[in-house]
Every structure is written in C-alpha cells, then in structure tokens.
C-alpha cells in the first residue's frame, strides 16, 4: 500500500461527527466612504492611492513619482495611461525582465478594509513582472472598490489554471530588529490609480 492510501486510511480511521460548514454570509464591515478607507488602508501599508478622472490625469500624477524621470525600462499594459517600451509578448524569458524600472498593470478589485488590489496573470505573459519591477503601478476602475474580503471573493472565480493575488503595498520586511524596510525583494513602491473613465 502506498503512502497515499496509508494516509487516507489513517485519516478515515477516526470517524469524527460531521460538523457543518458555517455560513459566510454575515453582517461584515461596510464603510460609509469606501474610497477614503481604501486610500487610508493602502497608505498605512506603505502604498499610495490617487483618484483620477482618466488616463491623462493618471499620466500627469505618474510624472510626479520621484523615480519616474530616471526610469528607463517600462512595461505597460495600460496604454491609456502610458505607453511602455518593453513589450512582454516579445520577451521569451522572464529573467530578462530583471531591469524593469516601472510596471503599469491593471487591477480588477480594490478592497477598502485592507488596501489590497486583486491582480491576475490573464493576458500577461510573465507574471514575474509584478514582483521583479522596481516600481509597481496598478490601475483599477474607481467603481471596483468593495468593502471587505467577503465581497471580494464573491466576485472571484477560479476556473482553470492561473495566478491571482491580493497585493497590498510595496514589498517589505521587518526582519532586522522589527525595523520596517520598504523594498524587500519586490517593488520599492506601489501606486494605485483609481480611475473614473478608462
């Protein structure tokens, strides 16, 4: 008998009384001003949130980013905001993205309670770009803010292969004496544009 059968048999050996799964539909927290809550939550984890009317306004804000003027290699999947100069489709190996300065990508849901944005690898050849870029910019429709994680999962589907993540702020560590350092392995900054029209 292999380990699979061994383990399953050992698990089954103890007949436990069936305990029903609890309901997830509860009166979870809601916010009067979801936008303000999202912006505050994101800021508290080291990210930056900007509310903008459209692509041009976002581009103008992006130009204010302290690292923008020095950026050389830019990946953008949101041409309405800015055109990139590195087309992922033509990159055969994600290791070649090592020197990407900025990645401007789309997020589909923003969560007010924790400042997280849901992103996926749909239509994205190399998911590495989320983590390997020095600076990350996510563009999210302003209407896509939900109050809490329960609402977020109601919108998510996991049919078939793929990658998806809640990203909340830039990469960080506090592993040296609990001193917070932004930019552990991944992006050193994270900006979220909540955009009205796109």
């Amino acid at each position: 008998m292999g380990s699979r059968e061994n383990i399953l048999q050992a698990v089954r050996a103890k007949q436990l009384p069936d305990k029903p799964a609890p309901s997830l539909e509860q009166n979870w927290i809601r916010y009067e001003d979801r936008r303000a809550q999202f912006a505050a939550a994101l800021q508290s984890v080291g990210g930056r949130c900007e509310f903008v009317a459209g692509g041009a306004a976002a581009a103008a804000k992006l130009a204010e980013h302290p690292a923008w003027s020095a950026a050389e290699k830019i990946v953008s999947l949101v041409p309405d905001v800015v055109a990139g100069n590195c087309d992922l489709a033509t990159v055969d190996d994600p290791h070649k993205l090592e020197d990407v300065d900025f990645a401007i990508l789309r997020g589909s849901i923003a969560v007010a309670e924790n400042g997280a944005v849901w992103v996926t690898d749909q239509g994205l050849k190399h998911r590495a770009v989320y983590f390997i870029a020095q600076h990350l910019v996510l563009v999210v429709p302003a209407g896509a803010i939900v109050d809490n994680m329960a609402q977020a999962y109601e919108k998510l589907q996991f049919a078939g292969p793929g990658y998806g993540a809640f990203l909340s702020g830039p990469s960080k560590t506090a592993d040296i004496e609990q001193s917070l350092v932004i930019g552990a392995h991944g992006p050193r900054s994270m900006t979220v544009f909540l955009i009205e029209a796109i």
Binding site: S3, R12, L24, E113, G164, K172, T173, G186
Partner: protein, 472 residues
Amino acid sequence: MSRNGHSATVANVGHPALAEAFTLDRPRARWHDETLWFVRSKRDKAAWTLPEWELLRETASAIKAHTMSRLAEYLEQFERQAQKLGVTVHWAKDAAEHNEIVLGILQRRGAKKLVKSKSMLTEECHLNPYLERHGIEVVDTDLGERIVQLAGEPPSHIVLPAIHKKKEDVGEIFHEHLGTPAGASDPLFLAEAARQHLRDKFMQADAALTGVNFAIAETGGIVICTNEGNADLGVSLPKVHIACMGIEKLIPRAADLSVFLRLLARSATGQPITTYSSHFHGPMPGAEMHIVLVDNGRTEILGSDEFRRSLNCIRCGACMNTCPVYRRSGGHSYESTVPGPIGSILAPSRDAKLHGSLPFACSLCGSCTDVCPVKIDIHHQLLTWRKEINHRGLLSLSKRVGMKLMSRLFSSPRIYAASGWLARKIVPRLPRFMLYNRMNAWGKRRELPEFPRESFREQFARRKNGKGGHGK
C-alpha cells in the same frame, strides 16, 4: 551549510536550562520581551478595527472543525482538482519520504540551485541539510530565514525567524557572508545588501520551493502569504515549483479565505493583510508544479480527541508574541520547529519524552487562547499534556516529588493550615542562603514577597468574632 542545534540530532536538555541561558543577557532578553509585546499590541489594534473580530474567529474555528471532520474527502477532492490543473500531487507519510520526493523532483530536472520561501514543514523535515548532502544549493529567501540560515541556526519564531538577533548580529553575519563593511548595522543598508544578494540567487535558481498557507479543496489551488514577495518572485522565474504542505492546510472553499486572510496578518503582525496573498492554480505555462502532501505524525494527532484542535493552527505566531514565557525565554529554548504555546502542544505529540518539559513552560495565564485567531484552547491542551506526561511517567524527579508533597498538603486542611502558619512564622526569619539557593528555582532573580502576619482564615475568624476590621 547546514543548521545545527536541532532537536532531532541534539539531546534535548529541556526548556528550563535553555531558558536560563537566554535570560543571562538581561538587556537582550528584555529587548526580546518588549519587541514581541509591541507586535502583540499591534495585533490588538488591528483586531479592534473590526467589530466582527469575534465572529471571524468563531467562523474560522468552525471552518476548521468542519474540514477536519471530512478531511479524507477534502484531500481527495483537492488532489483531483489540482491534477486537473496540471499539478503533480505527491503523498509523503513522513519526513524521510518527503525529502526523497523533493530530491527526486530536483534530480529528474537536473536542478542544482533551489530558492526557498518560508516553510515550517521543511524545517520540521530537516530538508535543507538533506538536500545539501546531495549537492543541492539551498537558499532561504525570506530575509529572516536567510539571516538564521547564514548563522547556521534554526528560526526562533515562525513568523519572525530572526527575532532573537540584534541588528549588530545581522551586520556581523552579513559582513562574514555577504561582504558588507564591518560594523555596518543599519537595517536599511543591510536589507538592501540582502536584496542584491538574493536577487542574484533568484536569477540563478533552477527550481523554487514554497510552503503553503492554505490549500483549497474546491479548486485545487494553493495560497501563499508573504510580505517580502519572495515566494512569488522565486516561483515565477524557474520552470519548477514545488509546494510542500501538511495535510491540515486544507480548506473547503475559496470563499473561506475571506475569513482566514482577514485574521492571519492582523493576528501575526497587525497588518490588515499580508502584502502578497497569492493564489496559485496550476503551473505557469511551460513549467511544472508539484504539491507534496505530508502526514509526518498529523494523522496521529487527528485521531486524538484531546489534541486534534492543535491541527487548526494557521501559524500566525500570535500565541508566541503574547506568551510571557516565550517572550522571556526565546524561541530556541523550546528546541522545536514550532516553539511557544502551540509548539508546546505539537512537539510532545511528536515525541513526549524528548519534549516533555514544554507543557510546563507555561504559566497557564491563557493569553494564547485569547489571541488565537482560530480559537484553539491552547492552555487547556497544555494542561492536558501535563497530566499525560505525568501519566506516562515522564516527569522529572524534582517535579514528581514536589507534586506528591503538594497533593498531600492540599488534600489535608489541617496540614495546610499548620504549614501556612509555620511558613509565616519561620520564613521571614530565615537567612538568605537557606531561601535563595539551588533548590529553589523560584528564588532565582526573584525576591519573596513580604509575608502577611495573619492568614485569610485567621483574619476571617477574628472579624466574625467582631474583633476589629471594617465589618458592621
């Protein structure tokens, strides 16, 4: 390099002796205590932002209880769904089989360099030294884990692996191994040096190994939570991703994550959510993904009515941060992969003889139970373990004799009253050497309180007789 100081290879000298060694450096021990308490306070603040905190804990606990009641079904469902997504699923009954499976995958692919993100399971299985013996370079990429790996130590905390190190220690380790200037100890500078060093490792890796925070039966996906992004960066570059998990990591539905992800980071560090909460469903296009499901003693715990709930742990570390004993004795004093209150339940389940001192490293204050996001009755289980250890005859001699005397004393009201009277009369007059000596562990760095002149019973009798006091 391999790590030393592990419980599996070194004779266990018990918690009290190691805790004593830790407390000798008083400023450092105090710093450790205060830092963890600070993390605990951040957890409180984060919990208080949600009016539904207690409901979340209830719900999480109920989801876990439900999952355990049908674990076999959920494991099978998870395997089916993961396979549909193109994942190769492996089963390992123990640490040795787990290690062989991982090595086998690496050897088949000709992989020589492995980057790892945090995984307590692989610590438990002592995977690193095993792989290194077989010529694999293993790099822990979580900064805290990298620090202790370079230092040749195991982590001392499950969320904050290098919490026992001061920045000067880290500076020295990096000076020796990464070539940073001697004396450099600024955390910003050191973290940047580690970033550059580990980027190289990420770029060169042939394969990546991760732990698993949650595995979703319904979808076959796994979820990994980090702040550094090291798991994500690690697995998105090479063509092989190996994810190792204990069988207790299962949850039934993706939507259950809405409960666990709200609890995990708030309980761990006081953040509203980890920076990266990544859902992996199947391998990247053109790559392969392996999931290793490991038992290694878990089914045995599952079979125990007393200790089954200890499997519900989501490894947030909150019980460690709040524990007065852990904070003052340090993680290494437990000689167990998972230290602190929950580790003191899990370790004796593995080997009661080796880890028999751990359930006694506890004041039964119950703070762990209060903060546990999945409502494990930690301190009750610790008490149960004490009885069990006594029952199995594994108690140390001094504890056995002491307990016998205590039970005599408490079961006879007359002896109890008489010895109280004697103590009040005699102890205050005894010379110091008779009170503070080797026989009295409680007298180490602790002064006796002043003894009252009368016992409660004496006071009560006097007041009932109307002789003074504040009575009518």
